[in-house]
């Protein structure tokens, strides 16, 4: 199921995201990610993002560190374009 796949990706990326320690105004960042078959991250591009340079860098590092992302159980569920919405505390 799609939900299970999203949950698995989310766990992988959340484990890989080392957030700068200091608290900052509510962060909301969109990242457009393209996957290769097999889950490797081919590209990650920041969209709308209200974070400072440090936050943006940590988000990009997280997405690439999480690569290769887990694959869905059913290969037909695979989608190559993902849109991450980083919104901690939401």
């Amino acid at each position: 199921m799609l939900n299970a796949w999203v949950a698995a990706i989310r766990r992988r990326v959340e484990d890989a995201w080392i957030r700068p320690e200091r608290s900052q105004t509510p962060l909301r960042c969109t990242v457009y990610v393209t996957l290769a078959p097999g889950g490797a991250v081919l590209s990650a591009r920041l969209g709308t993002c209200n974070g400072d340079a440090a936050a943006r860098e940590s988000i990009l590092a997280a997405v690439y560190r999480a690569s290769p992302l887990p694959m869905p159980r059913d290969p037909a569920d695979f989608v190559s374009h993902l849109r991450f919405l980083f919104e901690p505390g939401a």
Binding site: E14, I18, R19, P20, E21, A53, A54, S58, F84
Partner: protein, 441 residues
């Protein structure tokens, strides 16, 4: 219909399908942990130049901040000196998020040029490149400048590594104890005596731009307050009344000095000295002890230690004549507070089970012990509020260390003093403007 007209709606349809085919993944948590970074020993173009030392200073700076996890030098097996030589896969395999490489060159106009590059390892891209110019003999300062630039880029917080501390050293000699008021880089590099005395010196305090130091000295057996200009060495006496003057603190605007005055037959109280008028005004009204004043960054409130509640606690009052209210409630002894640069938290000395330790208290709530004791004392905050310098028991004497307010780094400051020497009352100086300059290449 022509093929061309058909193709337009087909293109629109594909884009529409693509947008819908983009799967949204919410990310609502991360890990609050130290950021992993590798600082590779810098290359040198001049044989014998201390390039490796530069990287060590930067790594030590980042480590002291508590916000970074440094790859141990023993695990650094490759030493790329150019961007093309960086093998991102290897650094990622070591768990690194960031990589710093650099190169030291002699500046044809005298002094040094230090080039460095910072990479986001998983993203495999360079995110920063700078050239730092510095005078001869100032390489250590250049390293601190690099630390400031990297720290700010990766945390969003202004770095405070190119700063200095003042402290008192007590040195045993054949003729008895001698005292020196010292100024050094915050990490203990290049300590220099500012004042020397046979009598005790105490409680240095920096003026807001770092040009002057207030401190307590003795003259004719009386404890008096001096303010000394660092550039000239000239000093003036602020207060030479009967009684003991202590714990000076410059106001954020530099126009006033808060101090503790203990009259010959009475309890200590907090006073304000105005530089322009030369007048001293009493601030705390209670007949109980009030001491150790500390300014809030807006210059309108003063924190101080008082025992009016039965034991030492930290209070605050609005100047000039607002009522005092109590700030600390944990346990039975809280003293020697310093206020963070945003006025939102304080660091103080707290006593737990007969041990003195540093604690951080959020003024809106929150309490965290910072150091383990048994005799941690005299905190002073870095100008960005991210670290504190304090005294601790080092064997039989007292030494200095820094503690990070976030993270867990507690690191002694090497001072290379003679055996038996002891130190006290450190004060962390303000930002004074870069002593070396950085430009993007």
């Amino acid at each position: 219909m022509s093929v061309r007209r058909l193709s337009v709606p087909l293109v629109l349809l594909s884009a529409f399908a693509l947008a819908h085919a983009s799967l949204e993944v919410p990310i609502t948590h991360g890990v609050h942990a130290a950021t992993p970074i590798a600082v590779v020993p810098f290359a040198r173009s001049v044989p014998g130049a201390p390039a490796g030392h530069l990287a060590r200073v930067v790594a030590d700076d980042l480590r002291r901040s508590g916000l970074f996890r440094l790859l141990p030098r023993a695990d650094i097996l490759q030493r790329p000196t150019h961007a093309a030589a960086v093998n991102f896969l290897n650094w990622q395999a070591l768990g690194m998020d960031y990589l710093l490489i650099g190169r030291l060159e002699a500046d044809p106009h005298g002094g040094w040029r230090v080039l460095f590059r910072l990479f986001n390892v998983p993203a495999r891209r360079q995110i920063m490149a700078y050239v730092v110019h510095t005078g001869p003999g100032a390489l250590h300062t250049a390293a601190h400048t690099i630390s400031d630039l990297v720290f700010h880029r990766l945390t969003g917080i202004r770095g405070a590594f190119d700063t200095r501390i003042a402290f008192v050293a007590a040195l045993p000699t054949l003729h008895g104890r001698r005292y020196a008021l010292m100024v050094a880089d915050y990490d203990g590099h290049d300590p220099r005596p500012i004042v020397r005395s046979h009598m005790p010196l105490l409680s240095p305090a920096w003026s807001p731009h770092g040009h002057r130091l207030a401190y307590v000295g003795y003259r004719d057996g009386h404890q008096i307050l001096y303010v000394q200009t660092l550039a000239t060495g000239r000093r003036t006496i602020i207060a030479a009344r009967a009684g003991l003057d202590d714990t000076p603190a410059f106001s954020p605007g530099g126009r006033r000095l808060a101090l503790t005055l203990t009259p010959p037959h009475g309890n200590a109280a907090v006073y304000l000295y105005d530089f322009a008028s030369g007048k001293t005004v009493r601030v705390t009204e209670s007949p109980n002890i009030a001491t150790e004043p500390a300014w809030f960054p807006n210059g309108r409130h003063l924190a101080f230690t008082s025992d009016r509640g039965g034991s030492a606690q930290v209070y605050a009052k609005t100047l000039p004549s607002g009522r005092s209210h109590r700030l600390t409630f944990h346990d039975h002894y809280n003293a020697d507070a310093v206020i963070g640069p945003h006025g939102k938290h304080l660091v103080c000395v707290t006593r737990l089970a007969d041990e003195l330790r540093l604690a951080r208290m959020g003024l809106g709530g929150g309490w965290r012990l910072l150091t383990p004791g048994p005799l941690d004392d005299s905190p002073s905050l870095s100008p960005n509020g991210e670290m504190a310098v304090f005294t601790y028991l080092d064997g039989k004497r007292r030494g200095l260390a820094t503690v990070a307010l976030h993270g867990r780094a507690i690191v002694p400051i090497p001072l290379h003093l003679p055996p038996g020497a002891s130190v006290g009352t450190p004060a962390w100086g303000p930002w004074t403007g870069g002593r070396s300059s950085g430009t993007q290449p």
